[in-house]
Amino acid sequence: MKAFVIDVAKCNGCYGCQIACKDEHCGNDWMPYARPQPDTGQFWSKVTEYTRGTIPQVKCSFIPALCMHCEDAPCIKVCPTQAIRQREDGLVIIDPAKCGGHRLCMGACPYGAIYFNKELNIAQKCTGCAHLLDRGWPIKEPRCVDACILGAMQFGEEDDFKDLITKAEILHPEYGLKPRVYYLNLPKRFIAGTVYDPLIKEVVIGATCTLSGDGSATAITDHWGDFWLDGLEIGTYSLKIEAAGKTKIIADINTAKDVSLGDIPLE
């Protein structure tokens, strides 16, 4: 079965996957696999940027997403014209010739991966570039993967990715649809700050920052006075900062969003 493995830590946000998908599908007719994608508004391969935290403790994450090619694809079940099928290799394809434009699949897909082409009256989405895979030229991979020079996106046989998949996550496992797009290094939440001594106006290096509450973690401030408590689940935490006999407690830190505490005086 074909699968994608996306390592978010290797994505620099170039959007090459999103653009290469458009280059392949906008204005090009790949019948019987796909009709042309409109120039704007559809994103069969889509990058979403997340700016996390607040100045100066900011991190950026880019998460590429496409049709999840679910093993239990709900779009297949709801199509009144049986236009959607799962190929033997696992790719889920909407047959443009059979699609009647009923749009039930769009409502059924919780990932929002299906778009409606008003002009052609058909639903459209990522095909995994099955037309390229089947003919084997000029490339043998989906365009998004071919464009990803940094290797953040991989495509191949699910069995060959076993080792990576054991470390990977899927988006929204609660949907229970067994998607075949796997993610490595998906961002969690962080709590970060810079600890300084307001009397001598120096950063505090080596302060112990201990987190308690909905989870526990410890970090030591580095040579910038910074601590990064990363990989946290969403919850409420209390942070204790200790150094040279001084202690500071910051309570009720909620990680619904990443939390930058800025410059923290330790008095």
């Binding site: 620099n12 170039c14 280059d23 950063v203 040579h223 910038w224």
Partner: protein
């Protein structure tokens, strides 16, 4: 021009569709593959005469092993695919853009002959165009050239070339018009035209400042192979004022720079970004961000020096043997010169870096082997008012830590080595057609014209407004890649005994109008009746093309046969096939000049009797590669590549020799040492308070007190314009290019409430809240020099007090020279040079204010400038070619522009 028989480059088995297969479905129809290099080498697949896709070229044909290195036990290999920039993947849309110029045009209210009542030059930028034939257009052009040469002499003509076009070899832009006119006018009249050039635009600070400290002709930046040394020895890499990803993507090596940054992180190098905003490189690679207010880096640099001196954590022994004038710098830093010690407490309120973080930065810089990285030339740090000071102070800091020792360098990114025997680099080859015609060289007894020649007429494009409006003008220096000595030579326009300029011919006006400084003044100056004729040849009706009186349609690389070189994962030369027929009536830059040459009865001389095929072969023969591969083999396979030097590890950084023995390996400074104090500057410019012999923190002040700039938050102007503009190179295109690609616009533009897609104006939420600005609001960014519209993007990725816009969003005037809707912000950048005697660009770190544009204000503009609002526009593509023609082309239906939805 003869139909080019393009060899089907990159046509190895497996990459081309089965030509014999019956076309049972569109998905199986055969395609043909060509190689085309724009930024990076792409494989271009074509079907039924149309481009299907642009994709990375897979090197599965050369048999060359990709470059591999192992450092600290970790191995990295170069990709075997060409690392295409995102907008290079989308370039098909530029080829078929509805903004392509399809046929020659003449401005409707312009007549040749120079009669002010018939040239209507004040309408440049507003009037539309009518279609004319190539024959009519070239007749007019030839007659105007002849008339102006006979009336005023050839110095009445200047050419302004695009420094960033498609970089062809034979068909190239980049000054083929200059080569032609110099050759023609010298042959016919025995005189030269007025030469023109910009300034060291991307590295102004290095050129006007750092060169005086450590030489390094001509860039003023450390050169040499530092990859191995950096990866092995550097511990802390400071990306200071760096432009980031934008510059990685538009270099031939594309995203390889990014790959090496990821590798360096794996090797344990810490990446600290010191810049006002989290730029497109920082967002992927930063371990720590130190936000700093634009233009205030010298305060931060001086406080670092102060901390080192106070704590004795700098290399005094090195300075004693490798530098001169440190005592003067020390006196300034410690407050002995002006009574102000440059302490972290002094610097912090200026640069907005907390005192404790400044000290931590100083200590980590001194404690670890630290290099400073600029991708590629310095970004905002080196293109700001008085940027020569930050650039000099940077070298001072490196020197105080024993610059040249392992891991202590100035880097232009972590750069791959080159091949063992590169006959000419890609860049060198790209200048092939810039080589002046051989017959002219012969006529000049072997002399090659240089941009810094002082014996012929010249005008720096930065000085155009003053030169046209208020001659004579004088300046020091001139030219882009020029030696330091040129900075001590004063030049004047008009050249003694020669004419002022009355005709401008450009092959890429977007750069000098939109990427240079104070474009509004330049635009308004070019509306002078003195400038009787403006000719532009360009593929697109984009930023600045509509300054012209006559426009010639130029084609893209895909539409002609040419020769190219590229250095991505290895150095190679390639034949670029003619993938498709020219769009509309377009011709190549070379062919367009040939058409004009015919009308001037100079065609045979100009072409030297050679066809395009002959020129391609000649380019190959001059490239130096013919010793490595025969023309027969090269032209058959369409490519030839060399692996990277297998002995690359033996190459040492050039600074290492100086570090080891400064007497035997002197720098290119008068003393051969690092000059904290420049005796040469002291002698030549004794009264220059803006660039003295020793670098200072210079903030400027009012013109009435003799200052070139008043662009700091400490000045009077800050009361009205309290935000500092951080203008960096474009992430989603190069300079003014690629603003017409829908797939890129979806990422890079923000839909406004009026249906127009605006350039993002990045602000901190705190600054926006003070001004009642919400995310997505249409805003005006303004100062006395004009208004640029954009849409507010509220982000934590920028320091409060600064506002960030990338360069080159586009020029789409509501009011010419006053209100730009397209987003190009250089139009309101300062109009003085870097400083009084440094005539470079100062195009970032300048003062602006930002305000919400109300519906009433927009409506008032609509009523005052109805034509601007009526012009054809498509949000997905931006302004359209059809918006500028009096008769709308059949294949471009009008699309209503910017009506409120």
């Amino acid at each position: 021009m003869e139909e080019n028989k393009a060899p089907t480059a990159a046509a190895p088995a497996g990459t081309i569709g089965p030509a014999e297969s019956p076309a049972v479905s569109p998905a199986l129809e055969p395609e043909q593959t060509f190689l085309e290099e724009i930024w990076q080498l792409a494989a271009v697949d074509v079907k039924h005469g149309k481009i299907v896709r642009r994709r990375p070229w897979h090197d599965d044909v050369t048999g060359i092993q990709p470059f591999t290195c192992t450092i600290k036990g970790k191995t990295w290999s170069a990709p075997t695919r060409s690392p295409l920039a995102p907008y290079a993947l989308a370039y098909k849309k530029r080829v078929y853009s509805p903004n392509r110029i399809l046929y020659p045009l003449k401005r409707v209210d312009w007549e040749p002959g120079g009669d002010p009542s018939k040239t209507n030059t004040e309408n440049r930028g507003t009037s539309k165009y009518e279609r004319i034939s190539w024959d009519e257009a070239t007749n007019i052009i030839a007659k105007e050239i002849t008339r102006l040469c006979e009336k005023y002499g050839p110095s009445a003509i200047t050419t302004i070339q695009s420094p960033h076009g498609e970089k062809g070899m034979v068909h190239k832009d980049h000054g083929i018009n200059t080569q032609f006119l110099q050759y023609y006018c010298y042959t016919k009249y025995g005189e030269f035209i007025t030469g023109s050039a910009g300034s060291p635009a991307s590295w102004e600070g290095s050129a006007w400042g750092a060169k005086h400290v450590w030489g390094f002709e001509v860039f003023g930046q450390e050169t040499g192979q530092t990859m191995k040394d950096t990866l092995e020895n550097c511990q802390l890499l400071l990306h200071w004022g760096s432009d980031g990803g934008a510059k990685t993507w538009n270099s031939p090596r594309g995203q390889i720079g990014d790959m090496l940054l990821y590798y360096s992180t794996e090797l344990g190098i810490e990446h600290v970004y010191i810049c006002p905003d989290v730029n497109s490189e920082a967002q992927a690679h930063m371990d720590k961000w130190i936000p700093v207010l634009p233009g205030t880096d010298p305060a931060l640099q001086l406080a670092i020096a102060y901390t080192w001196i106070k704590e004795d954590t700098y290399d005094q022994a090195y300075l004693a043997t490798h530098a001169v004038g440190f005592d003067k710098f020390k006196a300034y830093v410690m407050g002995e010169e002006d009574g102000v010690p440059k302490t972290p407490a002094w610097a912090s309120p200026l640069c907005k870096v907390p005192e404790w973080t400044i000290k931590a930065l100083a200590r980590n810089f001194a404690k670890h082997r630290t290099s400073i990285c600029h991708k590629m030339d310095g970004g905002g740090l080196k293109r700001a008012p008085y940027c020569h000071e930050a650039a000099r102070l940077e070298v001072y800091l490196l020197a105080m830590q024993g610059w040249g020792r392992p891991g202590v360098h100035q880097l232009k990114g972590i750069a791959l080595p080159t091949s063992a025997n590169p006959p000419q680099s890609a860049r060198g080859l790209a200048h092939f057609m810039n080589a002046q015609p051989a017959p002219l060289t012969k006529a000049l007894n072997g002399r090659v014209l240089r941009e810094w020649d002082t014996d012929r007429p010249f005008i720096p494009s930065n000085e155009l407004p003053k030169a046209i409006n208020n001659p004579p003008v004088s300046w020091y220096g001139g030219g882009v890649m020029v030696p330091t000595v040129t900075q001590f030579v004063q030049r004047t326009y008009p050249f003694p005994g020669k004419s002022e300029v009355h005709m401008v011919w450009s092959d890429g006006p977007g750069f000098f109008l939109g990427a240079a400084m104070d474009g509004n003044s330049t635009w308004k100056a070019l509306q002078s009746p003195k400038v009787e004729f403006i000719l532009v040849q360009h593929p697109w009706m984009d930023s600045g093309t509509n300054i012209a009186d006559i426009i010639l349609p130029i084609n893209t690389k895909h539409e002609k046969y040419d020769f190219t070189a590229n250095s991505a994962e290895m150095d190679g030369i390639y034949l670029e096939g003619k993938a498709i027929e020219p769009v509309g009536e377009s011709k190549s830059d070379y062919e367009a000049v040939c058409e004009i040459a015919k009308k001037l009865n100079f065609y045979d001389e100009w072409t030297q009797g050679k066809s395009v095929e002959d020129w391609v072969k000649e380019a190959f023969n001059l490239s130096g590669w013919m010793g490595l591969v025969s023309w027969e083999v090269f032209s058959k396979q369409g490519y030839f590549c060399q692996p990277i030097d297998p002995n690359w590890q033996d190459a040492k950084p050039t600074s290492e020799a100086f570090y080891n023995d400064p007497e035997k390996n002197p720098l290119q400074t008068p003393t051969g040492k690092i000059e904290f104090y420049s005796q040469r500057l002291a002698e030549k410019f004794p009264n220059d308070k803006e660039r003295g012999p020793l670098a200072h923190y210079v903030i400027g002040g009012p013109a009435s007190k003799g200052w070139s700039h008043d662009e700091s938050l400490q000045g009077e102007r800050a009361k009205n314009y309290p935000l500092l503009m951080m203008s960096s190179n474009r992430t989603w295109g190069e300079h003014q290019q690629c603003t017409d690609i829908p797939w890129v616009r979806e990422i890079s533009k923000v839909p406004g409430w009026d249906g127009y897609w605006y350039e993002p104006v990045k602000m901190h939420p705190a600054d926006a809240a003070k001004r009642g600005i919400a995310a997505g609001d249409i805003v005006k960014v303004f100062n006395e020099r004009g208004i640029v519209l954009g849409a507010a993007v509220l982000t934590e990725k920028i320091i409060p007090g600064a506002v960030a816009m990338e360069k080159g969003g586009g020029i789409d005037f509501i009011a010419v020279g006053q209100i730009n809707r397209g987003g190009t912000n250089n139009l309101i950048a300062p109009h003085m040079g870097v400083s009084k005697n440094a005539m470079g660009l100062a195009v970032t770190s300048y003062l602006v204010e930002v305000a919400r544009v109300t519906a009433n204000e927009m409506e008032a503009w609509r009523q005052q400038y109805p034509d601007a609002f009526a012009r054809n526009y498509d949000p997905a593509y931006g302004p359209l070619f059809a918006g500028w023609t009096v008769s709308i082309s059949d294949d471009q239906p009008p699309i209503a522009r910017g009506d409120p939805k």
